[in-house]
Symmetry: D2
Subunit: 341 residues, 4 copies
């Protein structure tokens, strides 16, 4: 049975395993002081066009989000995010655990709207009781969003402008960054991302790595003592080499871009397959997550043949489902799915 | 140059890499629901003689310590530990970040003393202002300690008895558990550890794994919703398979015990080498960390030939140094060191 | 100029000041161990019909809310509240500061609906990703609500039943409890409140005291070491006598009930005055806060004569305003307002 | 029976009660926006010689300490304090609750030593593992200390110089500030205190007020949004007038200085009385807390006649006791004590 349940069902890109094997007995210092991390940072700085970027390698998404957010916010501040943002829903309250409120904005297929952000901030400061409320301290968006959608350059610029006006750093959660950038619908590249925000991370876990997220402060703007903050949040890997080597590999010969493009190719083929059978979508996603709406009968028919996620029931008895592809999705898996349908 | 700076300078035991390769494209669910985690848990339950144990795989030491401690303590409680305990010194305040005070006890070569623990508790409750103070909620010890020393069965039982009397769970930090148990000085085995405490972890990062610590609640006594607590603390690995596979490998054919024994063999040879040259030790460690006291000249002589850690300067101008061995230490490295000396 | 801006514009009921004067040089122990606290607790236990109640005197509302909530929740839990609940909006993130998420429910004139609470909980547990989310640990309601509305006995029972079913304690924020109970619309009394929830507080600050809130665990169900939790949250008053004496006075000869009734009488007269001039209300409040909708001209006309709060602008250019009465509102103030209108 | 157990056994200075009575029905805005707070701030600014000082009125000591410390520290920082400092011992872990470690220094009759502070900081930064440890972010001292001792101007300057060198703000806990400054042993005045530190508070609770501590940032150096931080920490009093009026009264005609001087006069008389009977002292305190060492027989003799606190037992069977005087201590109480002895 082929599984489309998520984008982390396999291990790592074979090139990573190969290099892990080759370098296994090379002795390296811990905590990110190794040669792989150094090399990976150099490659990422080049790829994003930011020679002065501060880069840190962390292990997983929730950890990365709450370390960045807590590290950048003052105690009296909260983070603005879409009500469907990962930090608002699926991180078990990690942001609140670190003392901060997630201030939610309406979502549109997983995205926030610059106009609504502006309206929120205007209303906040117009309310004379605002000193009794959590102060906005940062804006969080995900690219792609939790629903697979992506922001256009114009949208990112509009959000960025408002952030600048209100002195709020903009944080882009790039857990699936490669899949967003590889989409034909994307009109931004990695350098644009680095230019348009104050901090972002390049997701490894979902894009070819065993684990690992590369946190980037593009203009050397990491908060003071961020290394200590990472340690304090339980996010410092002793054998940092594991993370360095993976990102070094992913950013050699643009492996990251290539495997992301493969995932998108597979996803668009999945989309095409469903569409060709008249099956509609909950959201028109241009990235590696597709949300076909299936009837109970269709779900039953797929059962035991391909695995996928049931996202939410609809009032009409049908279900929103999620089919995710990844760097590891095999063309034959997609064709098998096509065959069943 | 050979490095003895710490016990995490290499990657992973080759058997782990081999299995990572073999299983790489096997599709598995995330978050510890994979088949490797299931198998690893079964093997560990057997090895510790606790069929009903609750087991969780986390990524690194600081993360594991603060997740366990915060997960088991009530908000008004602190954790008792040696003043040299890792949680008291080298975790960047992770315990305090999660809201708890580390209540420190005197240390004796890194160990706490049952009598002093008892005296502390008696004095605490004898002080009528105690409701104005942090309430003791747990006892933390490390096995081996940060100075390589280990508790005897008698010592563990004495501490455990006091814990029981005062209703305090006993937590054993086993970041280097294998090296403690493999020491000829140890009179406890893994089953004893499981029997004598309320929670402990089996360190993987320092004992053959790329990363990973296996948290064990021996009597099925994990706190309610501990999975959510792990996630909230940024300690849940998406590709749990990476941890499961490693522990599954380490607990197949007692690989964990065997590679630990190798490290101890190497360490005792290092000890012997130093002793044979009349070099004394800061602490008489029976495990994989050795603390020879070197003069400035001796340090100079080794410089550029073997790497090691300078632990602390002594008033007489000499230095406490640390030479660590591990599962990966090559006999030739030790003989090379012997040759220089 | 008379002010109706809020219900804490004056000092304390004269009887309280009289007793403060009389007892000023009486030497008493600190931290709530004084004779006034003891007497106040006895009177409150009698008034609520709960001889075994645990009672603590804290200083202010936000402090009380976050001490109770953090004291009762486990670390992985959040508190369910109306999206307009004080803890969700106007406490500067105190709940999040203590590590917990406020899980918001829709509001209806400031109240939550039992059916919607049930639906929320059903949906939560039906979502198989729920272990990745903040676990609901408590339900918070305010009586009266932030909009002056009150729950009926039937509504409270319905909410309580759901809480019981899901094992969630019910917490009633009674910052204005007296004003709620004194309303002719109320069909519950103080004993009902104590019976229908797991913890509540009797607001003093807004009902005749200089400061002070009496926290009640009706069935002796205070969390273990709650005194220490209070201290840890900066909520323990050294001269607890100040709080004890005030509540002792308020609960002598039902002063609390009498002065609450006065405030309601004044509020209903205010309501009548506005209504008689054809002025509508944003919310039909039966308690001491009234929310007349005024035009810009009407606001201008009142300016400089009576003070009140502008609550929110309406799309049609009018404004929701708030006129609050209290134990201290003078009948002549209301008649002066009537005269202007 | 007269009580010398602590310095908060009575209510408030009669002048405060008088003004509370007089102003009771004056309508004032809440949250410190009232006219009393404004007047009190003006008077304090004048008394400390800092026209630009930021001043906030909080309710009690623990609350004030943890709000200031958490408000000034970054998340990765801890606060340096004597191991006997109130924040290290008797605040139920409030500092840790807000996420920060108390880094302890040796104490000398309750005081820290500038040389030891310097040595601690030098050792910290000399340890190359320091990024793995809590970063020092502030120095806390109490004046007078918990043992009644006071720092000389020279000592304060020495500590301040080190703080400046390391970029650490110096915080003076002045819960008993008046009693320290009124001591004949003091060679600093209120203006010196303001000049020599970065933040301090003027204790009201123990010096004539019902409650209240005036937090002073002498050079207008309050952290951004400190009002919100105060609210978030549950430390914002709704009826701020209660605090404003009290400090306004205490800083009118130097009432604060006068009543402090009275307490010291009483304390020195107590000291003299004990000394004249050959009774020694645990600490040579020049302020309102005296620590005579009594035998079991002497304690027995006083029992039931005067109340005092037993501080700690000595190995020789005698006890360190504490006799505290205050603004409210009656000369006849001291003479009664003298009579018994």
């Amino acid at each position: 049975m082929y599984s489309f349940t998520c984008d982390y069902t396999e291990g790592a890109h074979p090139e990573i395993l190969k290099r892990l094997n080759e370098s296994n007995f090379q002795q390296e210092p811990g905590y990110g002081e190794d040669s792989f991390c150094a090399s990976a940072k150099a490659r990422i700085r080049e790829a994003i066009g930011c020679p002065e970027a501060d880069i840190f390698f962390l292990v997983g998404g929730t950890q990365t989000n709450y370390t960045i957010i807590d590290g950048m916010l003052q105690g009296y501040q909260g983070v603005l995010a879409a009500q469907t943002g990962h930090i608002a829903v699926h991180e078990a309250g990690a942001i609140e655990f670190s003392g901060h409120k997630v201030l939610t904005l309406p979502q549109h297929s997983g995205k926030i709207d610059a106009g609504e952000l502006k309206a929120w901030l205007e209303a906040f400061y117009a309310d004379e009781t605002y000193p009794h409320m959590v102060q906005p301290g940062m804006v969080y968006i995900s690219f792609p969003s939790e629903y697979g959608t992506i922001y256009s350059r114009t949208e990112l610029e509009a959000i960025g402008e408002i952030c600048k006006h209100y002195g709020l750093p903009l944080f882009i959660d790039g857990a699936r960054l490669g899949y967003g950038l590889a989409s034909p619908a994307a009109d931004v590249c990695l350098k644009d991302i680095a230019r348009l925000c104050d901090v972002f991370y390049i997701g490894g876990t979902k894009v070819g790595a065993l684990c690992g997220e590369a946190v980037v402060f593009p203009r050397g703007n990491a908060p003071a003592h961020f290394f200590t903050t990472v340690k304090q949040h339980g996010a410092l890997l002793a054998k940092g080499r594991l993370l360095g080597l993976q990102f070094d590999t992913l950013f050699t010969d643009d492996l990251y871009g290539k495997i992301s493009a493969h995932a998108i190719e597979m996803a668009l083929r999945v989309k095409e397959v469903f569409a060709s059978h008249g099956i509609g979508f909950h959201i028109d996603s241009p990235t590696n997550q597709q949300f076909p709406i299936l009837s109970a009968e269709q779900m039953e028919a797929l059962k035991g043949k391909v695995a996928f996620e049931v996202w939410e029931p609809l009032p009409d008895g049908r279900y929103v489902t999620r089919f995710a592809t990844s760097w590891a999705t095999k063309p034959e898996a997609v064709e098998y799915l096509a065959g069943i349908l």
